[in-house]
Amino acid sequence: MSSLVLCSTCRRHVRLGATTCPFCSASITSGEPGGGDRSLATRGLSRARMYARYAAIATGVAACGGSSSETSSTDAAGDAATDTAASDTGAATDSRGDASGDGSVADAGADTPDTVSDAPPDTPCCPPYGCVFPDTACGGDLV
């Protein structure tokens, strides 16, 4: 179970309950966007169920006219549903950050819990060792 949330200012993970980010000194308020909120939405879901869920979300986004390959990171900021779908589908909407090496990564995306886990909470992140699986959320016809 994660004990970390994401600092919305510097995008570093900080301890749940911290009031100040130890990396950028920004205040961490309850309801800040980040991993902690997100974990409530997905914690414990099986990989297959997460994929199915994200695929459904992605489908919904597409049905609403969103095209993940065309959406800029700026467009996606603050859109919880798009952010959630994109970050796990390999789509572009969660792209953020810089490559300057200075450690600063700008983002204002907010995640909102949209479901409650119904599975044991300690299922780890599925290990990417070996071959990346072409889950349906990865985007359409792969062949």
Binding site: R12, D88, A92, G103, V105, Y129, C131, V132
Partner: protein, 434 residues
Amino acid sequence: MSDSSNTGPLSPDERRAILDAPRPRRSLPLAARPVASRVQLPLADESRAVDRTMRPIYAVWELTLACDLACRHCGSRAGVARDDELTTSEARDLVRQMAALGVREVALIGGEVYLHPGWTEVVAEIRRCGMQSTMVTGGRGMTPEVAAEARRAGVQSIAVSIDGLEETHDRLRALDGSHAAALTALRNCRAAGLPVALNTQVNRLNLGELEAVADVLFEVGAHGWQVQLTVPAGRAADEPAVILQPYDLLELFPRLAALKERCDRGRIKMMAGNNVGYYGPYEHLLRSYCHDRHGDSCSAGRSGLGIEANGDIKGCPSLPTAKWVGGNVRANTLERIWERSQPLRHMRDRTRDELWGYCAECYYGDDCKGGCTWMATSLFDRPGNNPYCHHRALEMQARGKRERVVRVEEAPGLSFDCARWDLVVEDLPAKAEK
């Protein structure tokens, strides 16, 4: 196309010297004959709740150690098959045991999977049991016919290893033409109707070429890219000049972040391997596919299952055999080994108390627990302290320091063996080394 002139952390002369260096072990066979181990440790009398709750989700299975390449960074020193590899019948039985235990995805690796005489039967059994089937190949023998066989058997994705541009790849793979063969393999798989992905090990020779490897992703229509660090184990331990230094992560991670964004835009799923660590400013981006957008420590024996070709069971396929095999499926059922062997239980039970060195005091210690156990044990013969960490490198940099690993004892030359390394903390140089 990407600029391929960047030489990464090495100067052009340093890089040339490494490219031209002969193999450290020049006597034959390059692949030592593996010892038939069949580890039989005593199992606990009973399983515990945690052993029954934590189930393997993802299995990585060295189906055979036989290989048609003898890569200079291969952790298992693949080449010659183990004497006691599972028969096809035994392998199919193991597949059924994995399914019963809850495994959902089986990645077949080698050696070369297609050199196992019953590999398509094993794949078919994986699919018949309702699990997802993927495989990894160096691609040398991935002909149109073999690719078609894979497709017919039910393989759902094939990852081909690409470790840089042609010269770098061929040097690492120790075979002229291996890069061209890998590209041909990708095309053959695509022609057979198979989704393809790339796997890349990052080291000092290819760090500057990652952008060019990403070009290949787009050229061949790959759906995924798994990137991991070359771990100083097996043959890679014989070549310390190739291994990244911990401070090289300061250069690597911004590049990975930019590549992740590029892949996201192209709807290619780029996954940072378990040894790409940890909790730096790009963690949420590189691990956006994780529940909480961060890694959560080593998954070996928690959700991960590793299998050696002779049926030895580990929590991760890359962990050193001697200390991390929990049992053999010829002597016990997979379920009993999973639930009752100490090596498989290790990661379920460990606490922060296992951490030492920098990791013992790290802000992220409770969650990270030292990251990749393979990396830590390959360096220091014990888990819990891993200098290959972006957060750690940044903290060192903030103090005007950096860490460097120095090999002090060679590896003996066996599959999944390790050298011994010292960790040196030193002042940052006034100017970047180049």
